[in-house]
Symmetry: C2
DNA sequence: ATGTTAATGTTAGTTATTTCACATATTTAT
DNA sequence: ATAAATATGTGAAATAACTAACATTAACAT
């Protein structure tokens, strides 16, 4: 029933609705949403229907209710603790990214193989990779962001899976498949850029 | 004919085939590819067919030929110059990311609104945002990576479009639509993480 | 040479996703 | 109270994306 891009679409609804909320709107129509997000209004209604978000036959949807429902769907009752594995430039950037916390995501630690990067006293400590399994088990970490060098990616992923992590956001150029133990979502920045370049070059030619 | 995810898939083929190449393989079968990438072999063959990659009825595909063809499709004849707009942590991480250059992508400059970040002498200079339009026109920049704060995202995108940039990889939390002037591909890291969290939590419940 | 095998290339079929279209319900106006 | 207007909710239709199946052809063995 719930399909692949649906949660990402839900998150887009959420962003838009929060924006509308700050502008003082109380109600919204599926048409409003479809216009700004460039999808059909029936898809909006279908998504809402699928998630049990219900409106009034006239009068549209109540923004507060939708937002509450979306947070409920996403399970936003408790703060999600996330670790960052690999504290190179990208890893560190993500560790300090300010956009997570207001969505209830807290980066609780970074991990690195390089002892010179370790700094346990910090606000968000960087610990040595050896301590990862223990940390994950103790703090019951379910989600990790992986930004390690390509060469150690496989090994790191195995380590994460064995430690009990259930989901990995993989920024490594290697594309990993999800397994029974661990769900992997891959973000390949180089590929995204190459894809964009392809599209732009193609338009130029046409 | 060529559908949305096809180029990204092509890039995955490329990665895999380069790997096989380093292992000494000369030939590959659609089955080999489908196994590792977990798609059907007929999709591999269909993709290849769509892109004019042709094999032998027995004997499979010649790896060198596929790779050459893929590079040809992607237009990898000349180095793509890319700028990074917004040199916060993520912007700087991307400016220094080592994975681009071997794919023929060169980050030629960063831009920032903050004068204290400007450093023109560096290997990859950071210039003030005011100089962006001129720079883009002079160096014929077509692609930009946008990592500015949310508040100035819209304005920055307009500036890029007006300067002649044709494609923007947007790391801002605001989702922009592509227009006639500029193609925007959005990467929302927070959403990706929230999506992953949703999947993992759901599995736990099931 | 001829048959057998094994992989491609391609058409038909399937599944997934999105949109259309309209009956239904709810508000507003008269 | 009744009618008109309007937005939801939903099943059917359309589109897109992927897979299965197989006829075709090239290599190899006999």
């Amino acid at each position: 029933m719930t399909n692949k891009g649906q949660i990402l679409r839900l998150l887009n609804y959420k962003n838009l609705l929060k924006h509308l909320q700050t502008l003082g709107f109380k109600k919204v129509f599926s048409d409003n949403i479809s216009d700004t997000l460039e999808i059909s209004s029936s898809l909006v209604r279908k998504d809402f229907g699928n998630f049990g978000i219900t409106g009034n036959r006239k009068g549209g949807y109540d923004i507060d209710s939708i937002l509450a429902k979306i947070d409920e769907i996403l399970g936003k009752d408790e703060i999600q603790k996330v670790i960052v594995v690999g504290t190179g430039r990208i890893g560190q950037a993500l560790m300090n990214y300010q956009g997570f916390i207001k969505e209830g995501i807290q980066i609780v630690a970074g991990f690195d193989n390089d002892f010179s990067k370790v700094s346990e006293g910090e606000d968000i400590p960087i610990l040595h990779l050896d301590k990862l399994p223990e940390f994950v088990k103790e703090k019951n970490i379910k989600i990790a962001i992986m930004c390690v060098p390509q060469l150690v990616a496989k090994h790191t992923l195995d380590m994460l899976a064995n430690s009990g992590v259930g989901g990995v956001l993989n920024f490594t150029p290697i594309k990993f498949q999800s397994s029974n133990e661990v769900t992997v979502n891959n973000i390949n920045i180089v590929h995204e850029l190459e894809n964009l370049i392809y599209i732009v070059n193609k338009q130029k030619t046409t």
